[in-house]
């Protein structure tokens, strides 16, 4: 799977699980993102497809998902799986306190309208308190149905 952000950059996405404490196992490579296995998949009629990525790393610099901190409503995101592709339009970008996704169930629930949620860490960064104190949650809704990829 891969996701194209509004800047046009394609970010590879790997399947990820949730570890102890509800922390999503995002790839260490800041230029890759993780898709939660328990969420909705491309082509599903309901629920959220959750994709998360690091905002940065001390020894790699900015991550691809740092772009999320500046996206605006109306910009488009494209998600591509092995066989399907779907376009989404960004509806909102908000800061959610805390660093654990279990605090925001609407981000990953398979219930409700079909949506894409992109998540990354957000400032402020406080080393004494474990790092970034907020989550940036970007919610996007589909422009149309998922379509078979053109080869």
């Amino acid at each position: 799977m891969s996701v194209r952000l509004p800047s046009g950059i394609w970010v590879p996405v790997a399947a990820a699980g949730v570890g102890n404490g509800g922390v999503l196992g995002v790839p260490e490579d800041v230029d890759r993102a993780g898709w939660w296995r328990g969420g909705a998949r491309l082509g599903d009629p309901f629920g959220a497809t959750l994709i998360a990525g690091h905002v940065d790393s001390t020894d790699q610099g900015l991550g691809a998902f740092a772009e999320l901190l500046g996206v605006r409503p109306g910009q488009q995101v494209r998600v591509r799986s092995k066989h399907l592709e779907q376009v989404f339009t960004i509806r909102s970008r908000r800061l959610v306190p805390g660093r654990e996704l279990r605090d925001v169930p609407q981000v990953f629930s398979v219930r409700g309208e079909r949506r894409l949620t992109l998540v990354t860490c957000a400032p402020p960064y406080e080393p004494s308190r474990g790092g970034y104190q907020n989550l940036a949650v970007v919610t996007a809704t589909p422009v149309g149905d998922a379509e078979r990829r053109r080869r």
């Binding site: 800047s7 950059i9 260490e28 490579d29 800041v30 230029d31 940065d56 790393s57 020894d59 790699q60 610099g61 900015l62 691809a64 740092a66 772009e67 901190l69 500046g70 400032p123 960064y125």
Partner: protein, 290 residues
């Protein structure tokens, strides 16, 4: 054209013809005296002792020719030596002339009419090779230069091979010492364009998380002059088959210095145009080296 040795006169000057009646008196030929008979006139005189054998004296003409050849040889050698010295001097003066006649700088296309251009290349060993240009419509009489304060190690960022060249190609500074402490370099003659070339060490680190990834926390020196105006264009490339993944900018004056995404991809390079107000921003680059 220098005359060849063959046309040089021999050692003896040529004899000039003398008009009749004006020459020196001719000498009487030397006559060998005949021994006169003595009192024993009529007696057979004692035979003269046989002459001692001596080396046959060369003919006068052959001797003169030998002298001429020897003289020519000496003169010929002297000429070769002189010509050699002259040739060496000529080569030396040409080289000196080449140094003295510097080649004017050719401004790159990306250099703003007024502003600066940074061309940085991240090497696999983490060093950063930089060519930095400054151009102004006003005279530049001094430059402020400092190493970026983003060193990843205890030693901070070091600068090697720093060289400054003026618009007319003359060298302003060679192997300039640059530290994190800003220094002012005064220019003997004002110029409207300066090119700086150098290598940064200690500005980039290898990632311990992703193999082959380098984070360059700075890609240029802080190089400026008092009346500097215009934008700064920064172009970052990776050496060899490497790829620049992204650029990030931070306000160097901010105590927080948060990195923000900046710039756009340009093939395997990335470039960012910093406005005049953001000229002092620090630009970091994430690079996957080959």
């Amino acid at each position: 054209m220098r005359p060849s040795s063959r046309s040089l006169p021999p050692g003896r000057p040529p004899r000039r013809p003398t008009p009749p009646g004006t020459g020196p008196p001719r000498r009487a030929p030397h006559r060998v005296p005949v021994r006169a008979a003595g009192p024993t006139q009529g007696a057979v005189p004692d035979p003269l002792p046989p002459p001692e054998p001596v080396a046959e004296a060369p003919a006068p003409g052959r001797n003169r020719r030998r002298l001429l050849l020897a003289a020519l040889a000496v003169v010929g050698v002297a000429v070769l030596v002189v010509e050699g010295i002259a040739l060496a001097r000529t080569i030396g003066s040409q080289e000196s002339a080449r140094r003295d006649v510097a080649t004017p700088l050719q401004a790159p296309a990306d250099l703003p009419v007024e502003g600066s251009l940074v061309l940085s290349r991240i090497r696999a060993d983490g060093t950063v090779e930089v060519t930095q240009w400054i151009r102004s419509t006003e005279d530049i009489t001094e430059l402020s230069v400092a190493a970026p304060d983003v060193g990843v190690g205890a030693d901070g960022v070091s600068v090697t091979g720093a060289r400054l060249v003026a618009a007319d190609g003359t060298s302003l500074a060679d192997d300039l010492t640059v530290t994190a402490e800003p220094r002012v370099v005064g220019l003997e003659s004002p110029t409207t364009m300066v090119r700086a070339t150098y290598v940064l060490r200690g500005a980039a680190e290898q990632s311990g998380t992703v193999r082959g990834r380098v984070l360059a926390r700075a890609v240029a020196l802080d190089l400026s002059f008092p009346a500097q105006a215009g934008p700064t264009v920064v172009v970052v490339a990776a050496a060899g088959d490497g790829v620049v993944r992204n650029l990030a900018c931070a306000n160097a004056q901010s105590s927080v210095a948060l990195l923000r995404p900046c710039g756009t991809p340009d093939g395997t390079r990335w470039r960012v145009r910093l406005p005049p107000a953001g000229r002092g921003d620090v630009v970091a680059a994430q690079v996957d080296v080959s």
